[in-house]
Amino acid sequence: MWYIPEERPGDLIKTRTIQIVTVALLLLFLLAGFARTLLSPDTEIFYENRPANRFPAFSASSFLDGTWQSDVEDAFSDQIPAAIRMKKLYNIFDTRAALPLIRLVGHGGGYVGFRNICFFEDMLVVRPVALAEKEDTFLAAARLIDSWQEAAPGTEFYVYYIETDRDLNLETGAKSGLYDCLAGALALPAERVGRLRVDSFADYRRLFFKTDHHWNADGSYQGYLDLCTLLGITPLAVRGQYRVPACYHGTRAAGVEGVPAEDFAVNLYDYPDMTVTIPSGPIPDYGMQSLFVSGELESVSYGSIFGVDCGELVFDTGRPGKTLLVMGDSYDNAVVKALAAGFSKTYCVDLRSYAAELGHPFVMADYLGEHGIDCAVFIGGVDYFGETLLREGGH
């Protein structure tokens, strides 16, 4: 089959050797990727903060509808050797190429988009949501909360809305009016509805991380104080703040290489003794604030310090008092332990993972009755009231 052209014997052997080595190297490189994907896959992609895609099991139906093929493609993209290094390298290239433009266009203020986020001065933000986009879902969320309150007159319902960069045009200062929409639609007494107020870029910069969508130590403390006022409890005293400079890249910085790390701070409270239970059983503590403060925490993330998202958390101080239900998402991770100090028992439900972790859907009436809830507070922002609550809570 092979046809070898005539050439001087020495040159011919040399050329053939080079060509054969090239083909062998190429095939080995490609087959190594195939073998690794098939035989020794990773389970986590830490760089992207998600489980790794793995080679799927074959079935005729999945092949016919094309899902098997796309799952195979996803598996290769996560598992081939140096996949993460290549993604990182590409992100460095992509960001470095964009930075001069970001500086030029963003000079003097203004949003400069970069993939699915925006640069605004030295912060990574997102553009505001228009009221029309979320009005219907906010009204529906208000109706849902009111219906729960109506069905459970023995429980006092509260709403605490967290305004973020999605509620405010940072360029013009115009607000989307989402909070007013929600508060105006709720039938709850006005004193049981509150918000974290963000009226300007200065407010936003003070209360939120530069590279993450969450509130920072000042923001969560402000939220905690507001919630204490709303719920009528005395806030814990704060001994101060523990701050580690330039140690944190939030989730908005994922894939945006070259953005400087920012400070991470936690508020130092004197928490009372309490037990903490998650669906799989009791745990020593929720979050690792104490390890962070003692300098023993190796990697800094919002979840590792304040506690990872959990379908159901139960704090029990063992003291007499009321029982609280906190309904929310990751924002409440930073305040729930401090809130729990003011109650006998505190249940914290994250609807995004409740059904998966508990094995059954969340039903408000059953939950209130089963745990003897005195107060229920909904804590969240546009995603929570505009999506999660309706999608997961309407059972």
Partner: protein, 454 residues
Amino acid sequence: MSFSSLSFLYAFLPLTVILYYLAPSPQWRNGVLLFASLFFYAWGAPKALPLLVGMAALVWLCGLGSEKGLGFCHPLSLAFVLGSLVLFKYLGFFAGLVGVKSLPALLLPAGISFTSFQLMAYSIDLRRGQIRAERNFFRFLLYISFFPQLLQGPILRYGATAPMLGERSVMLDGAVGGLRRFVRGLAKKVLIADQAAVLASTLYGQRTLSGTSGLWLAALCYGMQVYYDFSGYSDMAIGLGRLFGFKLPENFDHPFAALSVSDFWRRWHMTLSRWFRDYVYIPLGGNRVRRGRFALNLLIVWALTGLWHGASWNYVLWGLYYGVLLVIERLVIGKRLERLPVLLRWLVTFALVNIGWVFFCIPDPPLILEKLRRMFVYMPTDWRALLSLDASVCSKALSLPFALLFSFPILKKAAVPEKGMRLIVLNGMHLVLLIVCIMFIISSSFTPFVYFNF
């Protein structure tokens, strides 16, 4: 399956190459290629595989019958292939012309335009006595389904392909050269076409922000996207063909270096142009007719060429645009064009081609007119607002100078003898280029979870 998918690069390609070269005889090697080709097709369109095999089987049977003097076989074969093409690709379009709006959506089999043109060419060539019918169905099926050219050409003629379907020799240099051509094609697609695509869609996507300069740049980016995508695919196909001992026809010859519209079409999608020339234009009388008929022939051929690209009015308009330009060039300007300075001829051709992309890219005729008006009646482009939408276009814009540079035949002139250290460097550069392409392919799967699992 796409050549630029990781499944192709990491599994399909190496396994097919290994099995092919381990196969003990030409029959086995054809068997490996046929199996690989059908699997390749089924990967992307499993439900369309029976149609592909069925069309090939009917045309093959008709070919045998036609050679035995059965007169109905040739029309039956053509009617079946053309009918399938119309049914699956154009039914909705034609139904829309007669006012029928609600037709059930039919699956559009991948590559049906290319496959049906190869099948029709086989049938017509057989009828003309230019080829002999293929006796072996599996070899015929391999001719139709050979995976390197199955989805986007080049369009093969049976007469030129048949000798390669039997015994064929593969030179080691040819195989490595084929791999290098494949990598260059992949680089065209991934490093240039896909990047230009983002720029084009950003510029076209903003109706209010893009003014005259923005829309000219959008047309340029779109043209680069189409050229590097399609010619990259052709390079990959030709490279893969060489790897398996096939010499596939060239499909592009630096069309953006063309000095006239006729020249552009001699260099762009050459196998399609030749198909229309041989099976439509010449049977209509070609240029050996009166001027009026000649113009009509050109317009018919170019309307059909446009329609071949897609079942939509904008493609027909795109084809007619070229038909009109060619009529003007041939019948009005004629030889006077050659007396103009080369730079001016190139500039005019380049501008005309870029205007053509507006028809190709935008499906809605009123919107086409709006874009064209903005291209010619000055309107400012809000570059600050446009660029602040997504600064990641910067890295994409880096591909543009390379796109422009490589659209001229500079590498042809830079060809070096492939020996010794030069060969090592050349092969090494292609391996590095492959890794860079994989880096770009993988980057599209970067999907961090922002709101969950901190």
